[in-house]
């Protein structure tokens, strides 16, 4: 079984070259991508050049970096000097960022090889990757189903080809929910744990970059490199970065795990509930103490999230106006007409909807009733978690109320689509870490994800829960129908 950690070790000990691994990864991507449309761009040439560089440095006895030769991808809303940074939007078609995001720079400096950029719902707005301006990604477990979103490209790619690390972004569940639908592991770190410099902002106070991979171990491997204070992001925290890999070894015995009653409501699919409760039992068997907890303001999380994220988005997306970069309409009568046409042509329906909602909730006369109230509720939700974490070390619940749904089945009603976020948005509002990991499948064969939430900057604790579960079970090793191997057969 291939993992990023094993690839790293084998390149380091010389049993395989970085070039060989990169060739295999690129070939695997080329094989699965026509079915999945997980990658928007694949960087054959630059990836091989980087791999050769790693091999040269190894041959010369130089330190090629802690992730030397490890393949990675980034979601297309994260800037890189390679390729385009479009956020999956037509308004940024052809946009090449003049700078690399901090996360890409850090991984590349650690010797990792950027193999491509993955698909997403436009600007991260969506839960199915159907809102991509360049067409949807398909779920490798059933290509008639969505991979979830908005990091659907990353999750589908991770499910189809183990051993690659993917960076996604999570504003209301955009890493965890697609990981749940695709049967892979993904971490939304504590807000401020990872620099957002170079992440095309959707909702600045909620956005966080995090890893998507085949296992908690690979997530820990990636997090160790991308976490930490960045002088270019004032919201990145100056909190020491532990060695996440060695933290995993601490296990979970004696840790207290809370089960929030508000997260097991009727809207949760029965099979999802069963798989998640089985995961609870597995953890109990590892010495975890399980208790009931209450997060009383949970029902307000989704409307709070919709208001705050839309408000910030309406401002963040104002810069896409046809003046300085991105799409400009072919003809316009005057400045305002140029703005309207460029934005009208460039943005998709969901993005426009959220810009309108956000503009409305910030308007004078409505600000207090919507935005200000949402900010107050946000504090209550955060306090819910603070109280619960006085009682327990982590909280476990389903990642999504449902499993991967058929393409097109929720497109007609945005509220139906927003409903799949109800279990993930609280972590963003509370700025706490959350991990999703596969805990079995439904009778239809679709993966179910369990989510563990932790205290701020205890990302290592949620990683430990997922890792302990994965040392005990093999659900994360199950392979979907559409898949390809990196390892030599």
């Amino acid at each position: 079984m291939t993992s990023a950690a094993s690839i790293r070790d084998r390149i380091r000990d010389g049993s395989v070259s970085a070039r060989r691994v990169t060739e295999r990864v690129l070939a695997a991507v080329d094989r699965v991508n026509p079915d999945l449309h997980a990658y928007l761009e694949i960087f054959h040439d630059s990836a091989l050049a980087s791999a050769d560089d790693v091999d040269r440095r190894l041959a010369a006895g130089d330190d090629p970096g802690p992730l030397a030769g490890v393949p990675f991808s980034v979601k297309a809303n994260i800037t890189s000097l390679e390729g385009e940074s479009t956020a999956g939007s037509k308004i940024l078609r052809g946009y090449r960022a003049p700078y690399a995001s901090t996360v890409v720079r850090r991984l590349q400096e650690a010797g990792a090889i950027l193999v491509g950029k993955t698909n997403l719902d436009e600007f991260g707005m969506g839960s199915s990757t159907e809102n991509s301006g360049v067409g949807p990604t398909r779920n490798p477990w059933d290509t008639d189903r969505v991979p979830g979103g908005s990091s659907g490209g990353a999750a589908a790619a991770a499910a189809a080809i183990p051993g690659v690390i993917h960076l996604g972004s999570d504003t209301g569940g955009s890493i965890r929910q697609p990981c749940s639908y695709c049967g892979v592991t993904g971490l939304k770190p504590t807000y401020g744990r990872v620099s957002r410099y170079g992440l095309l902002a959707f909702a600045s106070s909620l956005d966080q970059i995090g890893p998507v991979a085949g296992s908690a171990e690979d997530c820990a491997l990636a997090l160790g490199q991308i976490a930490g204070r960045d002088p270019l992001d004032s919201t990145s925290a100056d909190v020491p970065v532990p060695d996440y890999l060695s933290e995993l070894g601490k296990g979970v015995e004696g840790l207290r795990l809370g089960i929030p009653r508000e997260y097991f409501v009727d809207a949760i699919d029965a099979e999802v509930r069963e798989r998640v409760m089985e995961a609870v039992e597995t953890l109990r068997g590892l010495g975890v103490e399980v208790e009931k907890v209450s997060l009383p303001h949970t029902e307000y999380a989704n409307p709070t999230y919709v208001i705050i994220s839309a408000a910030e988005a309406s401002s963040n997306l104002a810069r896409y106006d046809g003046v300085h970069f991105g799409h400009r309409t072919a003809r316009a009568d005057d400045l305002v007409d140029m703005y309207s046409r460029s934005r009208g042509e460039g943005f998709g329906a969901e993005v426009k909807r959220r810009i309108m909602v956000g503009t409305f909730v910030l308007s004078s006369g409505y600000y207090d009733a919507f935005y200000l109230k949402a900010m107050k509720v946000r504090r209550l939700i955060r306090r819910d978690f603070e109280r619960a974490f006085e009682q327990v070390d982590a909280i476990l619940c389903p990642t999504s109320p449902v499993t991967a749904f058929p393409l097109g089945s929720r497109l007609d009603d945005p509220l139906k689509l927003y409903a799949v976020d109800i279990l993930t948005v609280p972590a963003n509002l509370a700025a706490i870490p959350g991990i999703s990991f596969p805990c079995g499948r439904t009778r239809e064969g679709l993966p179910v994800g369990a989510q563990v939430l932790g205290r701020p900057f205890e990302d290592s604790v949620v990683l430990r829960f997922a890792h302990a579960y994965q040392t005990e079970t093999d659900h994360h090793r199950e392979r979907p129908p559409v898949s390809a191997d990196v390892e030599e057969s």
Partner: protein
């Protein structure tokens, strides 16, 4: 229209002044903060508003804003934050300006103005920090507009006064005091021509005796100190005309046209802006520590009105001298005081600085710093005059030479050949020659005509090229004319 408020109407004026801070780098990125570079050469992904970039606060700008607040006695916020002001314009690449809304860094305070013996304080509402926008350039004969983003992200203080100003002259005075204070603090150039100080005026009129605030207009586009008073003069007279002919003042923005010396309603009814302010999520709120305030307080220089008072009370200068010396250039203060330290006659130093040094600065169009005169050298020169080594008149010439190349005063006097004649024989010779050449004047002198003596002194001074000591010349004239 009359140019002054008629006695039955009282103008009510408040100013919103924008001051660019002279930090090395911009407000939220590392780009150089400088005027006059080629278009778009001082830019980076952050100030160009590229997707994914984030602002980082320039701590120096925060310190400068606090210094300004301390100078005017404002309350300095211990908790302050930035907000986004959302509006679309091509010179604002993010289409929002990072500004401050409900927690400005400074609130309250006042700017002390002085007229005659009276001090009047113009209260401040607030001082807040924000980023400047770029510039749109509408080039003649081109269909498109050009955008220069060098100015984008320049740290900007917005200083908002209460409507405490009552006359256009007072508005100009307020602005001059603001500017001088910024120069003393060393936080801005306040150059209106380069746009580093910009001013919007809010003005209304009310019947004298009323304390109501009436509908006001806002005048924009005042880009020179001289225009402030004339724009206000025009606008006040216009409002009086409107009111006296039974009309009502419309709340609107008006542009000042310096060519026609009038204000005009901005064309096209501007929609009422809803800026949709909300807290800037990319920047954490700022907490100002007491230790930081203490440190900044200790850096506070003497302020223009304090210096003025010191010049009067400590150095015994007339009010006029104190005003002129404290309002010219902050570098004058240490210059003057060092001079007085070495040559303890403050009024004489003041005369020289105001009459000669300032004139040289004006002629050369330079600041005191660029003029390059050291206070020690000026004191040396004044000492030479005092000791009759050079006449006051020739000392002027010595000063000019010193500005070309700094050397000991005695060397310059020698080089110019303007040293006082110390040889009694030379003076006697010159006096005798003057007496011989003007027998009728000598007769007048003997008859007690004062003018005759002055004429003869003048003749001797001319002959000696000003190098004779006048009192000595008088004594010799009287002696040789037999008047003792």
């Amino acid at each position: 229209m009359g140019s002054r408020a008629r006695p039955d109407w009282e103008p009510v004026i408040g100013l919103e002044v924008h001051v660019q801070l002279r930090t090395k780098s911009k407000m939220f990125c590392g780009c150089e903060n400088r005027f006059g570079a080629p278009p778009n050469s001082l830019t980076c992904p952050v100030c160009l508003g590229h997707p994914g970039t984030l602002p980082v606060i320039n701590e120096t700008a925060i310190s400068y804003a606090i210094l300004a607040g301390l100078a005017f006695g404002c309350d300095i916020a211990r908790y302050t934050k930035f907000d986004r002001k959302n509006y679309y314009y091509p010179d604002l690449p993010k289409n929002y300006q990072i500004s401050q809304f409900d927690f400005p860094i400074c609130s309250g305070g006042a700017v002390p103005l002085r007229s005659g013996d009276e001090t009047r304080s113009i209260r401040l509402v607030r001082i807040h920090l924000e980023e400047d926008a770029g510039k749109n350039i509408h080039a003649e004969g081109r269909p498109e507009s050009l955008v220069d983003l060098n100015r984008t992200g320049t740290p900007l203080l917005e200083i908002v006064s209460e409507p405490d100003i009552r006359t256009p002259a007072e508005a100009a005075d307020y602005l001059r005091t603001l500017r001088m204070t910024m120069l003393y603090l060393g936080i801005s150039d306040c150059n209106m021509e380069e746009g580093s100080l910009r001013c919007d005026c809010n003005v209304s009129i009310r019947p004298r005796g009323s304390d109501r605030l009436e509908t006001r207009t806002e005048i924009k586009n005042i880009n020179s100190f001289g225009f402030v008073a004339s724009a206000l003069d025009y606008e006040i007279a216009r409002q009086i005309d409107v009111r006296e002919s039974g009309g009502e003042i419309v709340q609107e923005t008006r542009l000042f046209d310096p060519d026609r010396n009038e204000t005009r309603s901005m064309r096209g009814k501007e929609e009422a802006h809803d800026y949709r302010y909300f807290p800037e999520p990319d920047l954490a709120p700022i907490r100002v520590a007491e230790s930081q305030l203490d440190e900044l307080r200790s850096r506070l220089p003497g302020l223009p009105w304090e210096v003025r008072q010191r010049f009067v009370e400590v150095h015994g200068l007339p009010e006029y001298d104190a005003d002129v010396l404290s309002q010219r250039d902050p570098a004058v203060v240490p210059f003057f005081e060092r001079c007085v330290e070495l040559y303890a006659q403050p009024k004489k130093v003041s005369n020289w600085v105001i009459n000669h040094v300032f004139q040289e600065m004006n002629e050369r169009k330079v600041s005191l710093e660029v003029l390059g005169l050291s206070p020690d050298r000026l004191a040396e020169l004044l000492g030479a005059v005092e000791r009759n080594e050079v006449s006051a008149q020739n000392a002027r010439e010595v000063l000019r030479k010193l500005l070309d190349a700094d050397r000991p005063v005695a060397d310059v006097i020698r080089e110019l050949g303007v040293g006082m004649i110390s040889d009694q024989g030379v003076v006697r010779e010159a006096v005798q020659a003057a007496l011989d050449a003007n027998p009728s004047v000598v007769q007048d002198l003997r008859n007690g005509k004062k003018n005759a003596r002055n004429f003869l002194v003048g003749q001797v001074m001319k002959a000696t090229r000003g190098k004779a000591n006048p009192s000595e010349v008088i004594a010799v004239i009287e002696e040789l004319a037999g008047l003792e």
